[in-house]
């Protein structure tokens, strides 16, 4: 069991109440493993309580990357959230805590 943190790097972005997590393999040979293990369902389970809406996953083999578009993840949206990290910028490292 390894943490995703060993295999990939991640950056979080936001649009409204949607968090966008870009997961990028350090090495191309790890991309198939990420594709197999880090499914939309697995991410939804890992980020339970954080991502309240649907998660859509896009596969980008050319970049060795998976893009997770997570709805209802920012307590109502960047501009009116009561949280400190209203943009959910730090969620990238919450995803990298996942065990694969």
């Amino acid at each position: 069991m390894r943490k995703l943190h060993e295999l990939a790097h991640c950056r979080a972005g936001d649009k409204g109440d949607t968090s966008i997590l870009s997961l990028i393999a350090y090495r191309a040979e790890d991309f198939p493993l990420l594709t197999e293990r880090v499914t939309a369902d697995a991410v939804k389970k890992h980020l339970q309580g954080i991502v309240l809406g649907e998660i859509k996953r896009y596969e980008l083999p050319g970049l060795g990357a998976l893009q997770f578009v997570c709805e209802r993840s920012l307590s109502g949206g960047v501009t009116t959230s009561l949280g400190q990290d209203a943009h959910g910028k730090s969620l990238s490292y919450a995803l990298l805590e996942m065990n694969v």
């Binding site: 950056r11 966008i20 990028i24 954080i50 970049l63 990357a65 009561l82 730090s90």
Partner: protein, 447 residues
């Protein structure tokens, strides 16, 4: 080989650092310098400043940026493209003219307006986020349509030294000079998509160069204190090579470029801008030298029929209070403090949030069950309809000094007005853009 066009990214947000742009203008050999300074909420906040003072409402750092850059731009023949006009591009141009006058530098400024559609949006129009009619959001502060490269082209054609505008889609600020210099037709969607991918890679400036990337021991970035900002050499087909000024800190690698290419992209197969629907999944990145990445391969489809509009509305106030606990049982004491505040105020503030900073405040949980933090900062936040009521939160947290658990220290209280943002769409025909010229020269002064 056809001529390369070099465009630099001198700011990635309103509060960005000033020096990297000066380095690009001074030593970057760029022909265009783009300053992207408008976030989702920035225009609404600028609109509020304009209401209080009709000569304001543009970027708060505009004067400092222009005073620093103007001599360098003039000396090296660099044109500036920026959205620092925010809610008041005309007043921004007047401020630029005043600086040019003070520096005795002849200048021509082209102003692009037309993004402000507050009087044009229908109250029954629904938001993209919740499908609620806009009228339901109460008093609106601002409504700005995202303009595309098309709106900037007539301004570029005037030959002006500076092109200033308000809300324009970020990548379009970069695409416009490419389309202008290389003569790309606005229905050549593959070229527009390539230009858009380059604009997207550049729009956050330092983020392409290792900014927002570093993690010690894992993703090391050299000399971050002197982080350089990027530029692109774009050829006539929209293939580009990305790099940064020699000797600056940071790094441009495949990893930094991949993070930036995908950053905030809701659909990598269909990235929608006013100019094109771009497919980034076909983009290829290649490292061709130290701090040099070749970008090619984005493909495009026809631009959307309607334009996106960002609508700002008054969303009440948020009150906050903070206090710290350290040492044995810090977590338990902070928790108790939170419970006390909740009991004292909770009934009047149904929308209250209690955070344990240092433990679970960011993600509502910890992924490491074993931790026992040495110190915790308690944060209580709640929404309120008035600033007076919002202030009660901080006051009650401050009162924990003599009415709460042992050892609390360092209280802070804040009240902030909230501007909410939602989006909607508008027909292109309803948005008419215009170019206005302002100039100053010592000859005109003499005459």
């Amino acid at each position: 080989m056809r001529e390369m066009l070099r465009i630099g990214a001198g700011a990635g947000f309103s509060g960005d650092r000033l020096e990297p742009a000066a380095l690009l203008a001074e030593r970057g050999a760029v022909r265009y310098l783009v300053l992207e300074c408008l976030g989702e909420r920035t225009v609404a906040l600028a609109q509020l400043r304009k209401r209080r003072d009709p000569t304001r409402g543009y970027d708060p750092l505009l004067e400092r940026r222009v005073e620093l850059l103007l001599p360098l731009l003039k000396r090296n023949g660099v044109r500036l493209v920026t959205n620092m006009g925010a809610a008041n591009p005309i007043a921004a141009a007047d401020a630029i003219i005043a600086i040019a006058q003070a520096q005795k530098t002849p200048i021509r400024v082209a102003i692009v307006t037309g993004d402000d559609v507050l009087t044009k949006i229908a109250p029954d129009e629904r938001t993209l986020e919740t499908q609620t009619p806009i009228a339901k959001y109460g008093e609106l502060v601002s409504a700005n349509a995202y303009l595309g490269a098309e709106a900037l082209l007539p301004a570029l054609q005037t030959g002006a030294d500076i092109i200033i505008t308000g809300r324009v889609a970020d990548p379009s600020l970069f695409l416009a000079p490419m389309a202008h210099e290389h003569g790309w037709p606005l229905d050549d969607f593959d070229r527009l998509a390539r230009g858009t991918s380059i604009g997207h890679l550049l729009e956050c400036a330092g983020q392409l160069c290792g900014g927002y990337f570093a993690e010690p021991g894992r993703k090391d970035v050299p000399d971050m204190a002197h982080l350089g900002f990027p530029y692109a050499d774009v050829d006539a087909d929209g293939h580009a090579s990305l790099s940064k000024v020699e000797g600056t800190g940071g790094c441009i690698t495949l990893a930094t470029a991949k993070e930036q290419l995908l950053y905030e992209v809701i659909d990598p197969f269909g990235y929608v801008t006013p100019d094109v629907v771009a497919n980034f999944s076909t983009v290829t990145l290649r490292e061709s030298g130290p701090n040099r990445i070749e970008v090619r391969g984005a493909t495009g489809k026809e631009r959307p029929q309607k334009l996106k509009v960002s609508v700002g509305y008054f969303a009440g106030y948020i009150g906050e209070g903070e206090i710290s606990y350290g040492g044995v049982n810090a977590l338990a004491r902070a928790r108790l403090a939170g419970e006390i505040v909740r009991k004292r105020l909770g009934a009047g503030f149904p929308d209250m949030r209690v955070d344990l900073i240092g433990s679970t405040s960011l993600h509502g949980r910890s992924f490491d069950a074993s931790e026992q933090p040495y110190e915790i900062r308690l944060r209580v936040a709640a929404r309120a309809p008035t600033p007076e009521r919002a202030m009660l939160i901080g006051e009650e947290v401050e009162a924990l000094y003599t009415n709460g658990p042992a050892g609390g220290g360092g209280t802070r209280k804040y009240v902030q007005e909230q501007i909410g943002i939602v989006s909607t769409l508008i027909e292109r025909a309803q948005v008419s853009t215009k170019v206005t010229l302002r100039e100053w020269s010592s000859d005109a002064q003499a005459a």
